[in-house]
Amino acid sequence: MFDSEQALNQSLHQFLHDYPLQVAPVSVDVPLISNQDIYMNIALIKQYHEDMPKRQAQRLAVEYLERVDLGQIAYKRNPALNPEERFCGMLLRAAMVKDAMILIDQPFKIIPHLKDIQFVTTALKKIDDLYLSCHIYDYQWMKEKYGEL
């Protein structure tokens, strides 16, 4: 939790600097590629970094989407998604990074209408075998929304 934009940005940059190969951002500033379907956005990471064959990577992406009960958005594109679906798409894409250290930057900026962090923690639990660690960055004044977390 940070009390200023400067402190948050500084910390984000430090994290990116410390783990350049593992950091997997989930942020409004790191959007989904809009001219690709969601499953392609997710598969892209495996296809590029591990040279995984297209079909295998895309099958994996659809499988993971089904795991978070979002199989129906696989063939949709970013503008057609609601904030929750967009968040899960971004989260799964981040989880595709090898030994991913997921960095969620202000989750309530991605899903503004959320009352608490439960949706995010539930989604994270469903895919907890896909990442190494998860770090949530937010402002001090959002602390209330995080409850006991």
């Binding site: 790191v30 959007p31 809009s34 001219n35 892209l44 990471i45 970094h49």
Partner: protein
């Protein structure tokens, strides 16, 4: 007077710097084409999609334009040859002018209007939407993933479509040579074979490859110059397209000079 000179000098320096930057950038992309590491599964998928969008989707329109425009052109040229008593140059005009000069030019103009403009806009929109930053954040090399497949696609598409255009023109030639000169297919074929200069065809194919390289590289380069404001999109697209047409002219002039020398 002094300020005019200064302004002119500044403009010339800016132009030369931009030209040098483009050449350096082209060199960087060119080197990546030959690196094995560039060809990841993701890149190959983009390449296949690009070839489909540029070469396959355009086929009906391209064939129609080639047939209509090519047939008219061939008809007019043959008629003029007959009127001016230049029937002896028939084969050289057909191969040297129409096949090796006009069909690459017609192809590159069509592809520039359709695909180069689309690539320019796509890159600018990706930049404005911070999607380029997204790729960088996930350590996806923008040159390998976005640029190289489009450039390779440009080269392949222009070479293949230009060859197709040449075939359409030669087939039209068969019809018009029979209509205007009363020439049989065998005679037409012999004249063409005698007039065919292998080096001209090689130069034409090489020129197509150069066209393909630059009409995709320049729009990408200008598209990536967009700022993070939507208003920058039309600016970079128009700048990119003007520069593409300038590049087409330069390549055409250089190829003509190569032929003269």
């Amino acid at each position: 007077m002094m300020s005019f000179g200064e302004n002119l000098g500044r403009r010339v320096i800016q132009m030369l710097t931009a030209f040098a930057d483009t050449i350096v950038f082209a060199g960087k992309v060119f080197i990546r084409i030959f690196r094995r590491k560039t060809y990841s599964s993701a890149m190959r998928e983009v390449l296949l999609n690009q070839i489909y969008f540029t070469s396959v989707q355009i086929l009906p329109v391209f064939l129609m334009v080639s047939i209509i425009f090519g047939s008219l052109l061939i008809g007019i040229v043959f008629q003029l040859l007959k009127e001016f008593g230049l029937t002896g140059f028939f084969g050289h005009v057909l191969m040297g002018l129409i096949v090796t000069e006009l069909s690459p030019l017609l192809t590159v103009l069509l592809i520039t209007l359709r695909s180069a403009a689309a690539i320019n806009t796509e890159m600018a929109v990706m930049k404005v939407n911070r999607e380029i930053k997204t790729l960088e954040m996930f350590r996806i090399d923008v040159i390998n993933y976005l640029l190289v497949p489009r450039v390779i696609n440009g080269i392949i598409s222009i070479v293949l479509l230009s060859s197709l255009c040449s075939i359409v023109l030669l087939v039209s030639g068969t019809l018009f040579s029979w209509l205007i000169f009363g020439m049989s297919i065998d005679v037409y074929k012999n004249i063409l074979l005698n007039a065919t200069n292998f080096s001209d065809i090689l130069i034409a194919l090489f020129k197509c490859a150069i066209y393909g390289f630059f009409i995709t590289l320049i729009p990408i380069r200008f598209g990536l110059r967009a700022s993070h404001e939507f208003t920058s999109i039309p600016i970079v697209v128009s700048q990119g397209m003007v520069n593409v047409f300038a590049a087409i002219l330069i390549i055409e002039v250089l190829s003509l000079l190569t032929k003269l020398l």
